[in-house]
């Protein structure tokens, strides 16, 4: 099976980090992609409902969270780079920074949810809010998972582990970069 590349993972072995992580990442991208297309379809069916819902969203808070996440991703990428130079301390500090920014993202998200809940806007209010809470909530669950993964790979910090953990974190980042404009900005 030598023609299959590195030990039979096939095309998956071209990607950084563990191949199974990429199975997870690709599944997630399809899931979020489908939800976002579904969201756009709901806009087509109920334009007024979506416009009203979007007008209640805070673009500055969403923008702040975008900045937090891209900065966090930047730190995680540096952590991988430093690990490959052998600078384990520097790598771990960057990773801790990435995780801390992940927590900051969740805090901002928490404020946002609390504000919406105070206005009586819940997951069953209407289809807009169902989709808002499903997509952003599912994304936030990935942020939580990502922080746990960053902690694990910071502890067991082989280069491959770091690449694997960072790949998951960048996927979380990537999803938000698509989600944010489609949910918040396309009004």
């Amino acid at each position: 099976m030598s023609e299959n590349g590195e030990g039979g993972w096939g095309a998956l072995s071209e990607l950084p980090g563990n191949p199974l992580m990429w199975v997870l990442i690709l599944s997630e991208l399809l899931v979020f992609g489908a939800l976002l297309v579904g969201f756009a379809a709901v806009r087509l069916l109920h334009p007024q409902m979506v416009l009203a819902g979007q007008s209640a969203l805070s673009i500055p808070l969403g923008g702040l969270n975008t900045l937090i996440l891209v900065t966090s991703g930047w730190l995680a990428a540096h952590a991988v780079r430093l690990r490959s130079t052998g600078d384990i301390g520097g790598s771990r500090r960057r990773l801790a920074g990435a995780g801390a920014l992940g927590l900051a993202f969740l805090v901002v998200k928490g404020f946002e949810y609390a504000d919406k809940a105070a206005q009586g806007l819940g997951i069953e209010t209407d289809t807009f809010w169902t989709l808002f809470y499903l997509t952003t909530g599912f994304h936030a669950a990935h942020v939580v998972m990502g922080i746990i993964i960053l902690a694990i790979v910071g502890w067991k910090n082989t280069t491959e582990n770091l690449e694997t953990g960072a790949a998951f974190w960048h996927m979380v980042d990537l999803v938000w970069l698509i989600l944010f404009p489609l949910v918040y900005l396309l009004r």
Binding site: G8, L12, A34, E124
Partner: protein, 446 residues
């Protein structure tokens, strides 16, 4: 066969095949009742025959899984089974329990929840049987070589036992009853059973194609990853119309669409391995069943599942013959064919013979598969017509059913063909012909 204790699998294979015939026989009886409703209506009403049909299916598939595990685990773990005696005792307990349940059903003793009709004491007996089994195989795995295949198989088997515990919970609120009923039914067939399926297929691929274990085990992880990443939240496609919040329509639609992926990966996997292996294994029938399993599972569970899984479509097809069509092809492809593949592979080895009755066995494959396929098409057409008349036009249920008579006759014909095919399969496995293998017993690839 390398280990004497693998022989206990023969009990399970025999029991499973016997129940297989009974299951299909009751299916034919049910098909007859549908077209001639006065048949046996006093002696064996539809609901009793139906619970025997479905329960026999579940029990024989599980019995087959137990047999597969007893064959596979010593060979993978490279050690004798922890306790063959316990395995044989477990078999008789399970068989007697199943027989007692069926006799009870005939006397209207049951709990009346679909597929979980077993009386409480039978359910508890099943738990005991499962614990005996899990103890036996887990001890075997712990003392022997640990492979990805035994690891995944054990996880699947433990999952089967854990999720069965939800069958003991029956709240008086019908909504909650249904919610947790699906934790048994869905998380079995679209969750942990897929782990068993992938592990057994991986084992068969290693044995029959000669492809490296390394490669097979990587595919195994990809497949089970796809299966559980999609299948757990895919449960949502059962929560659309039973009193649950509307958000399940989104979750169920998206994740259960992805449930096609592991089945597609299994098709690519089996065909790639056979193609790459390039080795002609003498047991051609077992290879045919293995390839057939992945293909029929892809169509039955994957394609026919996807056909009606999106919430807006399910809104009109839910609870029609479309579901019945999907159920028949999916169970046949994924789990019936998996068991027969393993039986066909293992029985000559257990009986120390060259692969026997291959032609007859392959006839069984084609006749049964054609029967089930034709049945699926008949039920699909029936379901589409029913959906239109009943859900779009608003015609009454019985009026619509009367209009579907032709499809039900076709289904009965397909069912009879299936029964003939099953008899061929059982005959080919149970009545060994050909010569006993001498020193030149078919060696597994590994």
């Amino acid at each position: 066969m390398k280990y004497e204790s693998q022989k206990v699998a023969l009990y399970y294979f025999a029991g499973a095949l016997g129940l297989f015939v009974a299951q299909v026989l009751f299916g034919v009886i049910l098909g007859t009742i549908v077209v001639a409703p006065n048949t046996l209506s006093e002696l064996l009403p539809f609901n009793i025959a139906r619970m025997i049909h479905t329960n026999a299916l579940i029990v024989w598939l599980l019995m087959g899984f137990f047999g597969c595990a007893y064959y596979l685990i010593p060979e993978e773990s490279e050690t004798e089974l922890h306790s063959p005696k316990l395995a044989i005792l477990q078999f008789w307990l399970f068989l007697i329990g199943a027989a007692a349940a069926v006799v009870g059903y005939l006397f209207r003793i049951h709990e009346g929840r679909e597929f979980l009709e077993q009386p409480l004491w039978i359910k508890l007996a099943i738990v005991v049987v499962a614990l005996m089994f899990l103890y036996n195989v887990t001890m075997t795995v712990l003392k022997g070589r640990k492979t990805a295949i035994t690891n995944v198989l054990l996880l699947g088997l433990w999952g089967i036992a854990v999720f069965f515990l939800f069958s003991l919970y029956n709240p008086s609120n019908l909504i909650l009853d249904k919610v947790f009923w699906w934790w048994v039914v869905h998380l079995w067939v679209e969750g942990v059973w897929e782990l068993v399926m992938a592990a057994v297929l991986a084992f068969l691929m290693i044995k029959m194609t000669g492809v490296d274990r390394e490669v097979v085990e990587k595919w195994l992880y990809v497949i089970i990853g796809l299966a559980l990443f999609s299948g757990i939240l895919g449960t949502g496609h059962h929560y659309y119309w039973i009193g649950m919040p509307a958000y399940w329509q989104w979750i169920g639609s998206v994740f259960s669409t992805l449930e096609v992926a592991p089945f597609f990966a299994m098709v690519v996997f089996t065909f790639m391995m056979v193609w790459k292996g390039g080795r002609t294994h003498p047991n051609k029938a077992a290879l045919l069943w293995s390839l057939g399993c992945s293909v029929f599972a892809f169509f039955g569970a994957g394609v026919w599942g996807f056909l009606h899984t999106l919430a807006p479509i399910n809104y009109v097809t839910h609870g029609t013959q479309v579901t019945a069509a999907h159920g028949h092809l999916a169970f046949y492809g994924a789990y019936v064919m998996l068991n027969i593949a393993m039986f066909t592979y293992a029985m000559p080895n257990l009986l120390k013979r060259e692969p026997y009755n291959q032609v007859l066995n392959m006839w069984g494959f084609w006749v049964t598969s054609s029967g089930v396929t034709f049945m699926t098409f008949a039920l699909t057409f029936a379901g589409v017509v029913q959906t239109h008349l009943q859900r779009v036009m608003g015609m009454g249920f019985m009026e619509v059913q009367d209009a579907l008579g032709l499809f039900y006759w076709m289904r009965l014909g397909a069912g009879v063909a299936t029964l003939v095919g099953v008899v061929l399969i059982v005959w080919s496995l149970a009545v060994p012909g050909g010569k006993r293998a001498g020193a030149a017993i078919a060696q597994p690839a590994e």
